[in-house]
């Protein structure tokens, strides 16, 4: 019944549409929410959408993982290792930025008792 899901182009369409939807969910949250932590959650959602887009579009179900072992020595039949390596880097950097931002907002809340970005006017005068 679901044979068309095995088609490589269908998988890429699903990945593209799904990651676009996730990205715009994150963008909507980023633009509409006022709370610090919700904004950071939105940024993390957008990052996740980009990771899914990269990995899912370079995925080919007929190919094996890029690990050479017994019986899997054909390099032309392996998935591309470059997107994996790039996304591994991006995940770590995104985690570092998220942790730093969350700790900054914790410290800001402790100093001012304020979690609303519209009320951040300490620098105005």
């Amino acid at each position: 019944m679901f044979e068309y899901l095995n088609d490589s182009t269908t998988i890429k369409y699903i990945v593209t549409i799904g990651s676009m939807a996730l990205f715009f969910v994150g963008l909507f949250g980023l633009l509409s929410q006022k709370h610090f932590i919700k904004i950071f959650i939105s940024i993390a959602t957008m990052e996740t959408a980009l990771f899914l887009f990269f990995i899912g579009n370079m995925f080919n179900k007929n190919f094996t993982a890029p690990i050479i072992s017994e019986g899997f020595t054909d390099i032309a039949k392996m998935n591309d290792p470059i997107p994996h390596a790039l996304i591994l880097t991006a995940i770590v950097i995104g985690m570092a930025v998220l942790a730093l931002g969350v700790s900054m907002s914790i410290e800001y809340y402790k100093l001012t008792g304020n979690t609303d970005i519209d009320k951040m006017n300490e620098m105005r005068h």
Partner: protein, 224 residues
């Protein structure tokens, strides 16, 4: 309403562009790297790309992680450990003590076998930090010894740069593979020259930094 329409048009246009330009058969940059990969005697292609071909980039990446950890430590280090009034429940207390060695062992396994199987330093380090986080949540008196973490981080960072400099002086390439990396050894634990050593170093650094970040974020002032 017009703003909604405008953004809908924007989203649909972007989606149409993306769907029209889906590559059917892309030239893969990884193919040539996979061919080079076998000359280094490392089975896992992703490990070779992360640690060897992009080794300098990984050095910068753990520097970014270190700077984030440093910033969090600077901002949150004055706070006391949050005082949870209730003792954590018996199941959590016992299970955390039981699970911590297993989680650490699994993290070390993922780190050491990073050049043979999926996994590696970043993943193993994060697994070890999750075990530390479990202990921090369940034991209210537990604290990661600060001097131990400092020693581990310093050791790992200095070793990474030293290995790179030894490669520079012996092979004229920063992070050159100066240890024996014979292709016939591929698939064994002792293969790949400096690549597994560097991934273990990255794992130590990531694990200690993540543990420190978790500990600093769990600490809170009394007034919050």
């Amino acid at each position: 309403m017009s703003g909604f329409t405008l953004s809908a048009v924007f989203v649909l246009t972007l989606l149409k562009l993306l769907l029209e330009n889906i590559p059917q058969s892309m030239h893969r940059a990884g193919d040539s790297l996979l061919e080079l990969n076998s000359t280094d005697g490392v089975a896992n292609g992703v490990t070779t790309v992360v640690v060897y071909f992009r080794g300098f980039d990984t050095l910068g990446e753990i520097a970014v992680l270190f700077i984030a950890s440093l910033g969090i430590g600077l901002m949150l280090s004055q706070n006391k450990r949050c005082t949870i009034k209730a003792q954590s429940n018996f199941m959590l207390h016992t299970a955390a003590k039981l699970l911590f060695p297993i989680i650490t062992l699994y993290g070390i396994y993922v780190m050491v076998y990073g050049h043979l199987s999926p996994g590696g330093g970043f993943q193993g380090g994060v697994i070890i930090a999750s075990g530390v986080l479990l202990l921090l949540v369940s034991h209210r008196d537990f604290e990661v010894p600060h001097s131990f973490i400092v020693a581990l981080e310093t050791f790992a960072g200095v070793c990474y740069v030293l290995i790179g400099l030894i490669g520079l002086f012996t092979l004229d390439v920063f992070l050159g593979n100066f240890l024996p990396h014979d292709i016939s050894q591929m698939g064994l634990l002792m293969s790949g020259g400096i690549i597994p050593i560097i991934y273990i170093i990255v794992g130590i650094k990531v694990g200690s930094e993540m543990s420190m970040i978790a500990q600093n974020l769990i600490k809170r002032g009394d007034d919050v």
